[in-house]
């Protein structure tokens, strides 16, 4: 079988966390698969709906995306996952708006590799800019097909038909017909034209689809699911990263399956308590490697020492820029490793049926996890089905399938379905982290506020959002990948958070050095109209210039423009964020209330990374893998938050789940400087 390298976010720098396991292929199964007809039968079945492959564009036959039932219910299929960003709601809105039918008649089938077209994954804020237009085109094609059907049925002039509220009617007020009556459940076989006319989003708030199931406790997350005969799994964890499992002694317990293969050991038992007890009775012998490394100052030295040169983006001449500067600054910024800490830890329920594997799991990359499972067990992807129930959040932390692979390994040995839910400590330890990083900035500016030189080197925390939109004639920016002592990967606003932190704090330092107001200084160096507009909008709502302890930041990431103003207080050396105003332009607004909710959520989450979140580690162990040791934002940490939406109905919609997180930390650091005169250059900020 070909080696599969899991690409997390191929379109930009994302550190790919490699698959953890590769189990021995059962030779008999393998040959059976290739020799028999089963494989062909199964893939022909899957071909009905799970169309499209890695490396190809999305399928453009309508019935891969949309089906109208006899009852008029519209089923729309997408490989995207719902992790709290409310994409289920906004994609349903896109289909309903194009079909002119009630939102309630749309049912989205999401992230099921046997039912939905291939999808690279839910990341990079791509669902709104790419999946929403795809669903709009599919729904618009269906709408046109329905109009054709009605025109033929009534032998009527197509232009005299109106479509509204899930029905097609003669414009003269004559007869009308529902979608279901018209199609009678038949497939709509049409090719989706690239240029089919679609509408702009209506900018309408709609309540979260499935909200009622959530407030009544009915919604089933992966961790809530059961299957007949299901066992509960637990996995034996190494005492430190890089340890090798030499042997395991396990007592024989009734109903308990123990698995030991290479570095993997785990148990499956009839209930969770029995699984926990069985795990405790395992007697492993580990060989620890001297892992070395720890969080703290030496981490940043190590990242710089192991860094690659990287590709620099160079404009003009730094020497000339510095020679023409009246003030010159040099500063170093750092960001810590932090954890996603989704409230639902990784979970998977795996079930084998002969040589076929079905895994229900919370992941943002169902087709990637399918590939990971296929590689781990040496079976073709066609024999693996991954289904993702709407999941208890992810924030970029659920791209990989290790929990799915573990559950599948246990289920294979037990011959029964196995559910595995990681403990909070496992979630904090055995996933991956937002990379730590060091950023060095050297700059020069004239006394009139024009920046003349800008050198920006990012070590390890990523290249996204590194460029910025300031007009600087002489500049050199470079990202240098380094050797990370911890497994690192994607995160909400991953690298852009670090790059905006360093850039926007440095902008505040330069503004102070040339004795200019930070808003005026930014505007002086900025031509981009959309970024200027959000800066003005945030400053105006905030009442910029009034009061003590105020700071601002702005930026551009994933086609969203953001400006953040913050006010802070300091009590007993503790920083408290009092008030935040954030203006955001992500093109045409789809659902204003859900957009505000995302922005408020991003700001709230950002408070943690700005003020107290930090993964501590030492010698191959995470030191603080629990909520009692790793503080996340709570009710009492919340500032007042005001969101200003800068709607641009004339422009395509960009995603909004990530970019609103990038402005808070630098705005808060700058506000602390305004209040105390102390410059804080490390996230989390500590006085």
């Amino acid at each position: 079988m070909p080696e599969t390298t899991l690409q997390i976010e191929p379109e930009r720098y994302e550190l790919a966390a490699q698959p953890t396991y590769r189990f021995q292929v059962d030779r008999r199964d393998f040959l059976g698969l290739l020799g028999g007809g089963l494989l062909i039968v199964f893939s022909a079945g899957a071909q009905e709906s799970g169309r499209g492959r890695r490396g190809e564009g999305p399928p453009q036959d309508l019935d891969a995306w949309l089906h109208i039932g006899e009852d008029g219910a519209v089923t729309v299929c997408t490989g995207k996952t719902e992790v709290g960003q409310n994409i289920r709601t906004s994609l349903s809105q896109a289909a309903a708006e194009e079909l002119h039918c009630p939102l309630a008649s749309i049912k989205l089938v999401m992230a099921d590799t046997a039912l939905t077209p291939y999808d690279m994954g839910t990341f990079g804020s791509r669902s709104t800019p790419t999946m929403a237009p795809q669903i709009r085109r599919a729904a618009a094609t269906a709408r046109e097909a329905l109009l054709d059907l009605a025109a033929a049925k009534w032998n009527a002039d197509r232009s005299k038909l109106a479509i509204a509220d899930g029905k097609i009617a003669r414009a003269d007020g004559g007869e009308s017909i529902g979608f279901g009556e018209l199609t009678k459940g038949q497939k709509l076989t049409k090719t989706i034209a690239r240029d089919v006319a679609v509408a702009r989003p209506l900018c309408q708030s709609a309540p979260k689809v499935a909200a009622r199931d959530i407030v009544t406790g009915k919604h089933k997350y992966t961790s809530d699911l059961t299957r007949p005969g299901m066992l509960y799994g637990r996995v034996l964890r190494p005492p430190a990263f890089g340890a090798t499992l030499l042997s395991v002694d396990a007592p024989s317990l009734p109903g308990v399956t123990v698995v030991h293969e290479k570095n993997f050991a785990g148990v499956a038992a009839p209930d969770a308590q029995a699984a926990a007890n069985a795990l405790r009775l395992l007697k492993p012998e580990w060989k620890r490697e001297p892992a070395g490394g720890s969080s703290g100052g030496e981490l940043y030295e190590a990242l710089k020492k192991t860094a690659a040169p990287g590709n620099a983006d160079v404009h003009g001449s730094l020497d000339e820029g510095l020679a023409s500067a009246d003030v010159k600054l040099q500063a170093t910024y750092t960001v810590a490793y932090i954890a996603h800490a989704p409230l639902e830890p990784r979970a998977a329920l795996a079930e084998w049926d002969g040589g076929k594997l079905t895994v229900r799991t919370g992941t943002q990359v169902p087709f990637g996890v399918r590939a990971e499972l296929a590689a781990a067990f040496g079976i073709p992807e066609d024999r693996v089905r991954v289904i993702v129930p709407d999941t208890g959040s992810a924030y970029g932390g659920k791209h990989t399938g290790e929990c799915a692979v573990e559950a599948a390994r246990l289920a294979k040995a037990a011959g029964k379905p196995v559910k595995l839910v990681w403990t909070r400590e496992e979630e904090f330890t055995w996933g991956y982290f937002r990379p730590a990083g060091v950023i060095e900035v050297s700059s020069g500016a004239r006394r009139d506020g024009a920046i003349t030189a800008w050198q920006f080197d990012n070590y390890n925390s990523g290249g996204s959002g590194i460029a910025g939109l300031y007009e600087i004639p002489n500049r050199r920016t470079a990202f240098h990948p380094a050797e990370s002592p911890l497994r690192q990967g994607s995160y909400r606003g991953l690298a852009a958070t670090a790059n905006h932190f360093a850039r926007e704090v440095h902008m505040d330092e330069l503004a102070a050095a040339v004795k200019m107001d930070p808003l005026e200084f930014r505007l002086k160096n900025l031509k981009d109209e959309r970024l200027r507009a959000v800066l003005h909008a945030a400053a105006e709502r905030f009442g910029w210039g009034q009061g003590k302890g105020i700071g601002m930041a702005c930026g551009f990431e994933k086609n969203g423009y953001i400006a953040t103003c913050a006010q802070v207080a300091v009590e007993d050396s503790r920083i408290r964020v009092l008030r935040v105003v954030e203006a955001f332009d992500c093109g045409a607004v789809v659902n204003p209330d859900h957009l505000k909710n995302q922005i408020e959520g991003a700001i709230s989450m950002a408070v943690g990374g700005a003020l107290f979140e930090q993964i501590r580690f030492n010698d191959g162990q995470i030191v603080n893998p629990r909520f009692s040791l790793y503080r996340v934002p709570r009710f009492s940490d919340m500032p007042e938050i005001e969101v200003v939406l800068v709607d641009r109905p004339d422009l395509p919609s960009a995603g909004a789940g990530e970019t609103p997180i990038v402005g808070l930390a630098p705005a808060v650091s700058n506000a602390v400087f305004h209040l105390t005169g102390t410059r804080l250059r490390s996230m989390p900020l500590e006085l």
């Binding site: 992790v83 709290g84 960003q85 409310n86 309540p207 979260k208 499935a210 909200a211 009622r212 959530i214 407030v215 009544t216 406790g217 009915k218 919604h219 089933k220 997350y221 961790s223 809530d224 059961t226 509960y232 209930d271 969770a272 308590q273 800490a341 989704p342 409230l343 639902e344 830890p345 709407d390 999941t391 208890g392 959040s393 924030y395 839910v421 403990t423 909070r424 209330d593 859900h594 909710n597 995302q598 408020e600 959520g601 991003a602 700001i603 709230s604 989450m605 629990r626 909520f627 009692s628 996340v632 934002p633 709570r634 009710f635 009492s636 919340m638 938050i641």
Partner: protein, 144 residues
């Protein structure tokens, strides 16, 4: 014990957490596992009307008591949470509602500070805190 109004006989290791008994034994999966140390509030249920963290409460401590989970709650706070869009992934929501209902039962018109103090043991990682506060105030007014 009495669970959501019905008497249930439980056959379990007395040291098992109440949460496992509710979820795995009685298929009441509304209360969630979030941390296992009583610090995130996702597992909150009412024990004789008082909010408890069922992930750290051994089931023997619930013997003979009245347990209410989200599945047994019908309260204006649920509507208010929907109306205020006070959720994203929804994994914390059941615990938030149970904690909020406990507060409103005790204090029908809590101030913002009282809400924050009472709710501070519940984590919403998606950061919908301000909306949850707004929903609790709205439910308080609806009740008044």
């Amino acid at each position: 014990m009495t669970v959501n109004g019905a008497r249930r006989r439980i056959d379990a290791d007395p040291d098992s957490p109440l949460l496992s008994v509710l979820r795995d034994g009685l298929d009441l999966t509304g209360p969630k596992y979030g941390c296992g140390e009583g610090l995130c509030g996702a597992c909150t249920v009412l024990l004789d009307g008082q909010p408890v963290r069922s992930c750290i409460l051994p089931v023997r401590a619930a013997a003979g008591k009245r347990i209410t989970t989200i599945e047994g709650i019908h309260h204006p706070l649920q509507d208010a949470i929907v109306e205020e869009d006070a959720m994203q992934c929804g994994y914390c929501t059941a615990g938030m509602i149970v904690s909020g209902v406990a507060l409103l039962n005790k204090n029908p018109n809590p101030s913002r500070d009282e809400i924050v103090r009472h709710m501070n043991g519940n984590i919403c990682r998606c950061g919908t805190y301000l909306r949850i506060v707004a929903a609790i105030r709205k439910a308080a007014q609806a009740h008044a």
